[in-house]
Symmetry: C2
Subunit: 448 residues, 2 copies
């Protein structure tokens, strides 16, 4: 982080003093990701000025590293021809990342201005659905026929002159079907005359172009591949997904889970313009308003009791709040467990019992504490007991709901992370108000 | 996922019918991660039986892939000598992963039984602090002196006979200082007689053995390295962190953020025994109880108003709930933005204005909706107005608190994710109750 901050500082200084030549040198030596970070903190005209100091290749890297909001703004401020020249120098999978975020018309315009061959490659990749392996893959992999010798394979790599991201040599048969791979170090260590068939790893798992990106990362974790091969419907090898993209997707999926649990869209970034996120924020707040009104209507049933004993209103939110934290805790662990593949149906019973036990024990502990606090505060032992009992009951509900709702959503192929606090705590709010106020109403004549 | 489920099924079947030989074949052909998943779903004696059918090398892979809880139980059920023979076959960084989770005495016992050389390597790695680069690195990297020729480097790789995870050739000077790296495909494509100095990438960033693992992943993202080199205090190259470990750490850090936001420990998995997580769950619930009592005490100040107008108690939780969702949304985006490096001090003002604007607009929209609902329900326009105004006010508080608290925590080097709903919604609970009930109390004579 410090290195990034230092670069940002020196860029701002050099911009201020107008020393463009020195600035170009500094940019030249810096990491693209750091330049991108510095760029985001500048006003748009300075972003444009800075960006134009970059050579086309590094400019492409910076474009890849920028967040969507800043990139879109910057690209609109630049000349289209200028942008298309930079895109021409980028690998096609990176161009896809950039143009897929643009409105259709703007993307088409840029693609038209690009070199025909690159533009066609990009068009092909864009045919694949969003968030599929096809969209992520690079077509710049190296493959040889299984009958090739190690020497021939090496010759092929020399000619292919790929970028810095080739780590495997893929092995295909006469139909271009993937039949293995050879890590490059193994190729290096092999006798030149042997056939690649003899040194390949067989049974290499691959994904198809339509495979969902989350599934791709699961395969990468399972198989310890740093690059995931992609095949088409006829099992022909058509691309490979790089480690960089895999990490991007893992980050993206984690962001989605975190945000959905927090009742946010799933792909929001801090720099997204307010207008763009307004709708999704509002929708969740309205959903929450709906569930809150539902909970309030339960309270409405007991208005007479509250009127008779206003102290009930004081303790009411405590029961709801404790149910809320218990559900959130349980659901958080369950949702994450489902995402990383730890929570499967085979272990559900074991997990459920664990949660019920935790609900009972922590419920009893918390119930006791709050009963004591309530007694010290209001000096009313029966009210304290009612509060304690309602607490235990609510924590049990939280344990069951927090575990089963995410699992049920997953079973119905809905993202379990939308079982966010917004939705799921409604159960405990309603149950909490009902048990506490209901019990109090039953016993109201002893409470007054 | 389906492949994993299928394997689990056939393992259970073969176990049931006692066909151990066929079972051994099935296990032999399966991915270690899939075997680990199947294992978790079996009772302990069957786990032991199954595990013993594995050859030592695959057994090591399975051990690496198991979750901590299952692995610890399984290892205790096995013979110590048996386990140490398996550990002998594992790369030292994987052995570290396994033994660091065990109590000190058990770990020492196993290390004593292991081969001396491997055991010493593991001891050295365990000297480094938890969650540092030193703990994650493998010492099995390939390095040559900068004066070596391409041919000599190739010869060196042939002799080193590393595992399948060597992707870079590191270049060092006479003090073993890292002075560059060469991706293997570039080595393959180079003329045998040239010096590696001529084809290396210079300015390769590295981490030190003490670097925090989160910082390591940030470097990996920034620099597009599939393996991160590690140097010691004197800048000597001592290890490299593989892509697999990088992905593990990224998952781990995401889990930590997700769980802390949800008020859970940070490294809990669904299969952790209840006793083990009891304390951390209880602590958060008690903290939440404390903040809930704080909020309740605000309500206590207005008990007279509630006694006079019990309807206030009905609407009160709606204000709190809406403040809660607004704070959670804002804080979630901020915490994730801090984690992936999008939210820096340079853009804080921009983010804060965005959130305030969102608070104001969604607050107005929600305030209007709830005012209408309240009017239709209770037919009291002034009460509805008070509710609407309190809503807008609370959403503004949520916008400011949800943005600034995580940033402030980060500035003070505290994990921003502990600004979980538990802590941060206390602000909006208190402010919400205060604004709604306070306003109502001021206007009480017009409300009755």
């Amino acid at each position: 982080m410090e290195e990034t901050a230092r670069l940002t500082e020196s860029i701002k200084e050099l911009l201020g003093s107008g020393r463009s030549e020195r600035l170009a040198d500094v940019l030249d030596a810096a990491h693209a990701a750091d330049v991108a970070t510095a760029l985001r903190e500048l006003p748009l005209p300075e972003q444009v000025h800075l960006f134009r100091l970059l050579a086309p290749q590094p400019a492409g890297h910076v474009l890849s590293e920028l967040d969507d909001a800043t990139r879109t703004e910057l690209m609109r401020a630049l000349d289209e021809v200028e942008v298309s020249r930079i895109l021409d120098r980028m690998p096609s999978d990176h161009v896809v990342e950039v143009v897929e975020e643009l409105p259709r018309a703007e993307a088409d315009k840029l693609l038209e201005l690009m070199q025909e061959e690159k533009s066609e490659q990009v068009h092909e990749l864009l045919e694949y659905g969003e968030k599929t392996a096809g969209r992520l893959m690079s077509t710049g992999f190296i493959a040889v026929h299984e009958n090739a010798t190690v020497m021939q394979a090496m010759e092929h790599i020399r000619k292919a002159a790929t970028g810095d991201n080739a780590f495997y040599l893929y092995v295909v048969d006469e139909h271009d079907h993937l039949v293995g791979l050879v890590p490059l170090h193994r190729l290096l260590a092999a006798e030149p005359g042997t056939s690649v068939r003899g040194i390949r790893s067989e049974n290499v798992e691959s994904v198809t172009v339509d495979t969902d990106q989350e599934e791709v990362t699961r395969l990468a974790r399972r198989s310890n591949l740093v690059e995931v091969p992609v095949v088409d419907g006829t099992r022909r090898l058509v691309g490979a997904i790089s480690a960089g993209h895999l990490i991007d997707v893992i980050d993206e999926e984690a962001t989605e889970d975190i945000q959905r649990l927090g009742g946010v869209g799933g792909d929001e970034t801090v720099l997204d313009p307010a207008r763009q996120v307004f709708r999704s924020r509002l929708v969740w707040r309205l959903v929450n308003l709906g569930t809150a009104v539902l909970a309030a209507s339960v309270i409405g049933l007991f208005e007479a009791s509250i009127h008779a004993l206003a102290t009930l209103a004081v303790f009411m939110p405590i029961v709801a709040s404790m149910g809320g934290i218990a559900t959130t805790q349980t659901a958080t662990v369950a949702v994450r467990g489902l995402a990383v593949g730890d929570l499967t149906l085979g272990v559900l019973r074991r997990v459920l019992w664990k949660e019920v036990w935790l609900g009972l024990t922590t419920g009893a502990a918390n119930g006791l504490v709050i009963a004591v606090i309530a007694y010290l505060w209001k000096g009313h032992w029966l009210l304290s007991a009612v509060l304690g009992v309602a607490m235990v009951f609510n924590m049990l509900v939280a344990a069951v709901v927090g575990t089963l709702v995410p699992v049920a959503l997953k079973t119905f192929r809905v993202d379990p992370a939308i079982a966010s606090s917004v939705i799921i705590t409604t159960f405990t709010d309603v149950c909490g108000f009902f048990s506490f106020l209901g019990l109090a109403t039953l016993l109201i004549r002893y409470l007054l």
